[in-house]
């Protein structure tokens, strides 16, 4: 691993990108980003990640919100 390599996390639909350093479980990553469990899918490559799975430096992660709404 390259020194200083970081995990790149893209949040949709905000189209915001943040960089995070260090291994951690998905549930901790979500908590750090203020995302409630069950309100977003966590995607690495073409795979969904569950709360207990570990993400780490060099990973490209997409956090895709699932909430929609407005009109009844």
């Amino acid at each position: 691993m390259l020194p200083g390599a970081r995990m790149r996390v893209v949040l949709h639909p905000q189209r915001r990108t943040v960089e995070v350093q260090g291994r951690r479980p998905v549930r901790r990553l979500l908590a750090e980003l203020g995302v409630l469990p069950g309100t977003a899918m966590v995607i690495r490559r073409d795979e969904l990640l569950m709360d207990g799975e570990i993400v780490e430096d060099d990973d490209e992660i997409e956090i895709r919100a699932v909430i929609s709404g407005g009109a009844p």
Partner: protein, 314 residues
């Protein structure tokens, strides 16, 4: 943790159901959940012609995909709301979905129905919240398209989160007439209405999003630009906070509402609706709510036109 069904490595954990699934088992599970709701609530049968209201979002496209896979006779209906690039993109998603599966898609556009009828224009002219104007217009065009097309059932993609948020809003204000109509199946009150059903009413939006993702459905991820600040999103956030602490809260809220409580609310005695003098669709007054809205837009526009020359002449 293992897949609840096949014991392989799971990809999704549903805390409300205390279950986990790998991809193939999740797809089967999700379809079975939808099928069970259709059967349990007697929503429709194989012989019925179904009109599916599609927005290009995850819920309506996931639902349409399930109904196609289950072998139902489906036609999609996309209503262009005139919300700039968002509407263009959502139309493209719905059209691509239909083309890839070879299923019919009817397309209507508010902007082509009359001047000033795009959602932002109506909301601006009438000073209504965009979501309120949007909801009224959608209901009219969905009802009219179902009647004109001779469909048996109008199917919408309202999910558990939508129903829980709506229920919370109705309870907070004790809106008895709204509570009387909040059911997964709404029978028609007039020959020009068709039955309306919500087969996703017990599956969360997380579950529909996961199904859409696993099936490779290309849906619009962007939020409607008008939804920011909508009350429904506030209720959803409150419910998601409860759900995070106590998984299954939303499911039991809606499920028990339908099972034990909804029938306690009856619709207030209202006459059978007549027909709108303008469009002929069912109405309780001279005009249906959509035509009343159109008239309001026209009246305000005429007032504005009259005011401009007066101001110019001053």
């Amino acid at each position: 943790m293992k897949c609840t069904r096949c014991k392989q490595k799971p990809e999704v954990h549903l805390r409300a159901h205390n279950a986990a699934f790998c991809r193939p088992c999740y797809i089967l599970y999700f379809r079975r959940q939808v099928e069970r709701a259709i059967e349990h609530e007697k929503m429709f049968g194989r012989e019925d012609g179904l009109l599916i209201a599609v927005s290009g979002g995850k819920d309506s496209l996931a639902l349409w995909d399930v109904l196609i896979e289950l072998g139902y006779r489906t036609t999609g209906l996309y209503l262009g709301l005139g919300i700039g690039e968002y509407s263009d993109a959502s139309h493209d998603k719905a059209a691509a979905f239909a083309a890839a599966r070879g299923v019919p898609l009817l397309v209507r556009s508010l902007a082509l129905e009359g001047p000033g009828l795009a959602v932002p224009d109506v909301a601006g002219a009438t000073r209504r919240a965009p979501c309120a104007a949007c909801g009224a217009m959608k209901r009219h065009f969905f009802d009219a398209a179902a009647h004109e097309g001779g469909f048996d059932v109008l199917v919408t993609g309202h999910n558990l989160d939508d129903e829980a948020a709506r229920l919370l809003g109705n309870v907070l204000r004790w809106q008895r007439d709204h509570l009387a109509r909040q059911r997964p199946v709404l029978e028609p009150s007039h020959p020009k209405f068709v039955r309306k059903v919500k087969p996703l009413y017990l599956v969360s939006e997380y579950e529909t999003a996961v199904y859409a993702f696993m099936r490779g459905i290309d849906y619009i991820v962007e939020e409607c630009p008008n939804a920011a600040g909508a009350t429904q999103l506030l209720y959803k956030d409150a419910l998601n906070r409860l759900e995070a602490e106590s998984p299954g809260t939303k499911l039991s809220f809606v499920k028990e509402w339908v099972r034990t409580t909804q029938t306690l609310f009856t619709q207030p005695d209202r006459d059978v609706p007549g027909e709108c003098q303008q469009c002929g669709m069912p109405a309780y007054g001279a005009l249906c709510s959509f035509c009343s809205l159109v008239r309001e837009v026209e009246t305000r526009r005429e007032r504005r036109v009259r005011r401009v020359p007066a101001a110019q002449g001053a």
